[in-house]
């Protein structure tokens, strides 16, 4: 049987200028203009946003949750990448 359900879209909202768009939820819609309309009606009824992005959910590629160790552990032992790693003389430590 032909699939009748509207596709799923992920919604990203910029709450005010100067901030990033942030994921806030999903809507079902047949196309992008209607997804934007639905996102506006559902997610910005109380001045939550000034800009909306919608992305069809099956177009998003995500990292594998099972691969978390390989992906992210290598950063654990590289504390020299942080400014706090360097203890400088008191006179210049606030540089």
């Amino acid at each position: 049987m032909e699939r009748k359900e509207w596709p799923l879209w992920e919604v990203f909202i910029r709450s005010r200028n100067g901030l990033d768009h942030k994921h806030c939820g999903s809507v079902h819609a047949p196309d992008a203009p209607m997804a934007l309309q639905a996102a506006r009606d559902v997610y910005t009824r109380r001045q939550e946003g000034v800009s909306i992005w919608v992305v069809q959910a099956d177009q998003i590629h995500a990292s594998d949750p099972d691969a978390k160790p390989e992906m992210f552990d290598p950063a654990d032992d590289k504390i020299y990448r942080h400014p706090t790693f360097y203890k400088l003389p008191d006179e210049v430590d606030h540089m």
Partner: protein, 336 residues
């Protein structure tokens, strides 16, 4: 809500995991248990026991169904709201309930079910929703009492869910709770206005309070000793506070509110127990509760029939919009 549709490399990790060897399964289970013990969230694509997934689908979808069925008793009064201001408020509230349904269906979808499947289960009478919505809204005061008591009880239930172990559900609940606060306050405000009105209006508030009080106490579910899912849900970090504890917390909060309003709660045995530090209350009629849960409430049939009608009457719109979008996508190809 980080949906099931998102593409993850290595295809179907679910399938892979279901066919995992016993040894691998044990490792997944250990990791899952460790996450819960640390108070970490479980996210959509993480491994989880099948029973945890099933429990969440059942609970989140019931919750979503309750939101959209809950639109019906209140929608009943939109055209009869006494002023334009009250009408605008009620419209906004009913619109919120539709939104809450959407957040929750989306959270359920992250667990690998489609929204259409869930809605079909509701319409077929296979899925439950909160039995409170099977009671009628007879007067305008009912709209106020629903906001004050029904939404008040819902908030009591929902605040602990903002910390539940499943991330997408917890995030949906944070959003719901923010909006729910407006619902409760507008209800109390509506009742205050009636209480400052005529004797007949005060009577109306008292009558609505009398009718809703006991069904509202039933919203917290059976006593802990009779609760089917309580213990396992507590272990999984889905339910953080028990039915009876939430009910007690609610009663303790409402008594003072009823005083401010000037209504009497319809329980002659309700009194402060100094030793317990809580209010004692009368027995709840669980026969009535199970009757309504099992389909024999005053409005069960009407609510479900209205839902099904709305779904069927809207079918041509859903199909038309989908056909239009397909046609639009096909057009450039034809032109080329």
């Amino acid at each position: 809500m980080y949906t099931q549709a998102i593409d993850v490399p290595d295809q179907q990790p679910e399938e892979k995991k279901r066919s995992a060897t016993a040894l691998e399964s044990a490792a997944y289970q250990a990791e899952f248990d460790a996450k819960l013990a640390r108070g970490d969230f479980i996210e959509a694509k993480d491994w989880m026991p099948e029973a945890y997934r099933k429990t969440l689908i059942r609970q989140i979808s019931q919750h979503a169904h309750s939101e959209i069925v809950g639109m019906l008793p209140e929608g009943n009064w939109i055209t009869r709201a006494p002023t334009l201001k009250r009408k605008a408020i009620l419209l906004a509230k009913v619109q919120d309930e539709g939104g809450h349904g959407l957040y929750l269906y989306a959270a359920a979808e992250t667990l690998g079910v489609s929204r259409d499947e869930l809605v079909e289960a509701l319409h077929a009478g296979k899925a439950k929703y909160s039995s409170i919505f099977n009671y009628p809204t007879l007067t305008w005061a009912d709209i106020g009492v629903i906001g004050w008591l029904v939404d008040g009880a819902a908030i009591m239930n929902q605040i602990p869910l903002c910390r539940c172990s499943y991330g997408p559900y917890a995030r949906a609940m944070v959003r719901v709770c923010k909006e729910e606060s407006f619902h409760q306050r507008q209800g109390f405000d509506l009742l205050l206005a009636l209480m400052r009105g005529t004797e007949a209006q005060r009577q109306m508030v008292q009558d609505a309070t009398n009718r809703w009080w006991w069904p509202v106490l039933m919203m917290f579910g059976p006593h802990d000793s009779d609760s089917q899912h309580g213990e396992q849900s507590a272990k999984w970090g889905i339910k953080r506070i028990s039915n009876d504890d939430l009910r007690q917390k609610f009663i303790d909060a409402v008594v003072a509110q009823a005083d401010v309003l000037g209504v009497t709660l319809p329980d002659p045995t309700l009194h402060w127990n100094e030793a317990r530090g809580h209010y004692d209350h009368g027995d709840i009629d669980w026969g009535e509760f199970w009757n309504v849960v099992n389909g024999q409430g005053p409005c069960n049939r009407e609510r479900l029939a209205e839902r099904v009608k709305a779904w069927e009457d809207g079918a041509w719109v859903r199909e038309g919009a989908l056909a239009y979008s397909k046609k639009r996508r096909a057009e450039p190809a034809r032109a080329a």
